[in-house]
Amino acid sequence: MNVRDVALVGGTTTKFGVRPSTWAELAQEVGAALFREMPELRAEDVDSLFLGAAEPERFAFQSHVAPFAAEQMGLRPHRIIQRTELACASGQSAIRSAYAAIASGLSDVAVAVGVEKMNLPSMAEANSSMACVMDRAWDGPHGATAPPFFAMVAQRHQLEYGTTDEQMAAVSEKNHRFANTNPEAQFYEKKFPRDKLLRLPVVAPPLRLGDCSSMTDGAAAVVLVAAELAAKYTDSPAWVRGTGQYSNFHNLANAGSLTEWTGLRHAAREAFDRAGVDADTIDFAEVHDCFTISEIIEYEMFGWAATGKGGQFAADGQGDIGGKVVVNPRGGLLGCGHPLGATGIAQAVEVYRQFAGKVPAARAVPNPEWALVHNLSGSANVHSVMIYQGGRAS
């Protein structure tokens, strides 16, 4: 049997934000929304379920979450069922697993779903759970969490390349502006002009509140199928063309340079090579802007901006519509919020919608054919990239 082409044929997300819903209720909500969005999808045809979730064991005190999600969504997977975890990249991992399962013939119709409930009555407890994404026993006792780590990244980038707070704010302004077109975004109704962003409180110097993504509740789901089934579900699938990952280190002592993310260069190269394209081919990208400085370094590592010039690239609007590449038209993690396991799935939903012409004009990428999704996880110690091509179902 040949390795099969795999199409992403639809998907949806819940409203992201501080939700008065449990993890189970978010899973039920996204299941109902998915079947409403895709009336041709029948539960009994879904043979496999891949759940991306980062820390339900802690945030929701619930383990064995793949069958738990299946019950909430009204699914009875009869080929493959599993949960994939890669912290902030757990959702993309679920899609990659679904891809491999379908390509290899193990599955024909798979749902990849991401669910995360992060807003708890005790946010200090939630912060502890976030902190254990890093090396808990050796870095954790010092107070290692994402904000001070990425703050050091920003500090070094500012020192080495002269990147400014204003350039970082340009990233946040763009992504929040795109989020204002996206009713599912956490900050859909909030305006963040640049001058306001620069007056927000400092969270971890030099990062201000507007430089950081949020603790968010949300869920998202997509459907992937073997090529020959794609036309049953859509006439505008997103084809999975390339994937790459790289894992460098874990303990912060082994990070090496904070500003040169070699793991991302490797993962991007692998994904581009498999897709047979390069960075210049990409029309739009959903990249991991957990912090503004992340998106700036990602411009550089993907090769859209020269090394050290990511800040200028942002300030020049090169990641905006009309720029070199449209980055985070959905609103990014900054504008949409970052429900860890759901983020990578929601990014893929945006890819599908852009290809299908189902986004408002204010964020529509003109004639998109190639898209890229990127997630980093932890302290940017792992990078995950997928490349999609739009096109007709065969």
């Binding site: 449990t22 209720e25 299941g31 109902a32 005190f61």
Partner: protein, 154 residues
């Protein structure tokens, strides 16, 4: 269905959420707060899909069969009988060690197609038998929240 005994409930030590089995029950945390409000009135209820005529457990916000989100609340019958039971004689989770030994079982409700799992109070596990009649009851857990359990008929 009668609320639990009127004896005062000993106050419950506050536990971190990741060690607290009981659900958060207020409307800012769950869309199923009606269930817990009804529990305080001594009634165990659940949701039902009118379209599929399907009684669902646990209570839900979307039907697992038709995926619709229009469900209705119904009260459960309080009588049932033991389908299976066992007891926890050791190895209890944190916070339940002082309750050991305790009995648990699966209970077929009378007049509703549901077999609920729950704690079995009233008699020690050595005096239980399959088929034994039990009754659903609600109780305050000690911090203002309520839950349900079964009690053997006298």
């Amino acid at each position: 269905m009668t609320p639990s005994l009127p004896t005062p409930v000993p106050p419950r030590e506050k536990r971190p959420f990741l060690l607290d089995f009981f659900p958060l029950e207020t409307a800012d945390q769950t869309r199923l707060s009606h269930f817990f409000e009804r529990l305080k009135e001594g009634i165990v209820s659940t949701t039902r899909c009118p379209k599929d005529n399907l009684l669902l457990w646990p209570p839900r916000t979307a039907c697992p069969q038709c995926h619709g989100e229009t469900l209705e609340w119904v009260d459960l019958p309080e009588r049932g009988h033991l389908y299976a039971f066992s007891a926890v004689l050791g190895g209890a989770p944190l916070g339940m060690e002082s309750e050991v030994p305790f009995a648990v079982g699966l209970v077929d409700l009378e007049g509703a197609p549901l077999r609920l799992f729950g704690r079995i109070e009233g008699r020690p596990w050595t005096e239980l038998h399959i088929g034994q009649p039990v009754r659903l009851e609600s109780y305050e857990i000690g911090d203002g929240r309520w839950f349900y359990r079964f009690r053997t008929e006298i």
